[in-house]
C-alpha cells in the first residue's frame, strides 16, 4: 500500500516513543513553530556550547509525521557541530522537496531517509519540516548570541 511509504515503521516507532521530548531548561535558544494549516505546535530548546549542540530537546503536539520528524532531528543533531547540522538540515530539506524522486543520502541522514516516502505526499511535507524549520531559527539565534 502507498500509505506504507508514508507511515514507515521507524516513523511510527519514533511517534510512539519520542526521543529528547521534554524541554531541557538549559538552552541558548528557544523557538516555537506552528503549522498554520493544521495547528501542530513545536517548541525547541537548543543548547550550543563552543559550536557544538550539547542538547536539543522539544515539546509539542502534532501528527505522527511532525512528531517523529522532530524526534529524529534531535537524535541526529545532538553532539554535532553547527556546520555538521547545517549539512544535515540542507540534505533533509532537499529530500523533502524531491516529490518522491530522491531516496535521500543515508550517510548524512541516517534513519531519517525514511522520510523519502513523505515527500510523495505534498500535504505532509510541511509536517515533516516543522521541527527542522524551528531548528534553523534556533541555530541562527544561538549564533547571534555567541557573537
Amino acid at each position: 500500500m502507498e500509505l506504507d511509504s508514508l507511515y514507515q515503521e521507524v516513523i511510527l516507532d519514533h511517534y510512539k516513543h519520542p526521543q529528547h521530548k521534554g524541554l531541557n531548561p538549559v538552552f541558548t535558544a528557544q523557538v516555537s513553530h506552528v503549522n498554520t494549516s493544521c495547528g501542530d505546535e513545536i517548541t525547541l530548546n537548543l543548547n550550543v556550547q563552543e559550536n557544538v549542540i550539547t542538547s536539543l530537546t522539544w515539546d509539542g503536539a502534532g501528527c505522527s509525521i511532525s512528531q517523529a520528524s522532530v524526534s529524529m532531528l534531535s537524535d541526529l543533531l545532538t553532539d554535532k557541530t553547527l556546520e555538521q547540522a547545517d549539512v544535515i538540515v540542507k540534505s533533509f530539506s532537499e529530500l523533502m522537496a524531491s516529490k518522491g524522486t530522491s531516496a535521500g543520502d543515508a550517510e548524512i541522514l541516517e534513519d531519517a531517509v525514511v522520510f523519502a516516502g513523505v515527500s510523495k505526499f505534498p500535504g505532509r511535507v510541511k509536517c515533516a519540516l516543522l521541527g527542522w524549520m524551528a531548528f534553523k531559527d534556533a541555530a541562527i539565534q544561538s549564533q547571534g548570541e555567541s557573537k
Binding site: 500500500m1 502507498e2 500509505l3 508514508l6 507511515y7 515503521e9 511510527l12 516507532d13 510512539k16 494549516s37 493544521c38 495547528g39 501542530d40 505546535e41 503536539a61 502534532g62 501528527c63 505522527s64 509525521i65 512528531q67 505526499f121 500535504g123 505532509r124 509536517c127
Partner: protein
Amino acid sequence: MSFSVAEVRKDFPIFERTIRDGKRLVYLDSGATAQKPWAVINAESDFYSKHNAAVHRGAHQLAEEATDAYEGARAIVAAFIGAHENEVIFTKSATESINLVAYAMGNAEAGNRFALTSADSIVVTEMEHHANLIPWQQLAKRTGAQLSWFKVTQDSRLDLSNIEQIITPKTKVVAVTHQSNVLGTINPLEAIVKRAHEVGAVVVLDACQSVPHMSVDVAALGVDFLAFSGHKAIGPTGVGVLWGKAQLLDELPPFLTGGSMIETVTMTSATWAPVPQKFEAGVPNMAQAVGLGAAFQYLSALGMDQIRAHEISLTDYALKKMLTIPGIRIVGPQTNESRGATISFTVKDIHPHDIGQYVDSQGIALRTGHHCAWPLAKCMNVPATTRASFYLYNDEHDVDALVEAITGAQEYFGRF
C-alpha cells in the same frame, strides 16, 4: 428522503472519476467546498461562449445579454433567500462580504449610524470561523471599539446566559455564525436578534454553512446583514454574496472604490451610485454570478426542505454509527438537535491528520486541522479534529465507508 442521491450524483461529473488508484470517491468535505453539477459548469461556459461582455457598460447586444444574465442571477439569489433584488451584492466570497461590512463601518464618519469609537463594542462568539472573527478584531483595533464574545459551552452551544452583559447599549454590531463549520451547531438567533435590536445594534450573520443546506429567509430571521459563499452551495468559486437591509446598505459607506460604483467623479472627490452598484466596483465576476444563479435553480428544483430532511436523516445515521466506534469523540452536539450535517471528531491515540491520511488512502475526502476556527479548538480542548461534512450527494454508503475507514485506521496505526 424525496430525491434520489444516485440520480443527483449523476449530475455531478466529479463522481465519474475514481480516487487513489481506482477507488470510489467518497466526498465528505463539502463544508470546505461543494462539488458542482453540470448545470453550474455549463452556465459559466455558456456565458463565456455566447453572451460574454462587460455588464452595465456597453451599448451593444452582447452587453445587454450579459447584463440580463447577471441581473437575472441577482434576482434568483434574492428570491432564494427571500430578499429584494437591490439588497443583494455580489462579492468574491463570504470572506469579502464580511470584510466589506467591517471596512465600510470603519469608513463611516461621525454622525453615520455605523461610526465606531472607543465608547462602542463589537460582539462575536467563540465559535466563529476566522472570517467572522479577524475582520472584527481589526475593526476594533482601528476604531478603539471593544471586542466581546459569547462563550461556547462544553455541550457545544452558545452560552447566552449572560446575553445582557455581552450585548449592551454600547454594542453597535453583533457578528455570529448561523451554523458552526466545526461543531455543526445551529445557533438560536431569536434571542440574539431581539437583544441586539433592543440596544440598536445590527446583526451580521455568517450563513456560509446554512444557506447551502436549508431554506433561509432573511425576513424571517430578522438579521440585518447576511454573508455566504457560492462555492459551498454547489456554485462556482470566486463568488459570494452580501445581503443587507436596503436602508442599512444605503447608509453604509462604500468599501471597494473604482468604476461602476460612482455617480460623479472629479480629480479630488467622488459621489456614489445607488445600492447595489455602490458596493460592486469594477467589472464584476459575471460568469460566476450567473453560475451561482444556476446553482440556486438546481437546489430549488430539488427543494431546500428536501435537502435539509435528507441531511437530517443522514446525520442521524452517521452519529449513531460513529458513536459505536471505540475511542471516538464527537466534537459537537452528540444528538441531532439543532445541528447540521457536519461532524467533527477525534479518535483516541491517533492524530486527526493521520486519520485523514488513512481515510484518504481509502478514497474518502475529509478535512483535518482547526478548520479556521482556532479559538474554538482551544476552547474544546483539542489541538485539531477530523471533520466529515455531508451534502445532497452523500448517502449512507458514504457513512459506512467512513466508519469502516476509521476502524481501518485504528488497526493500521495500532500495528506496533
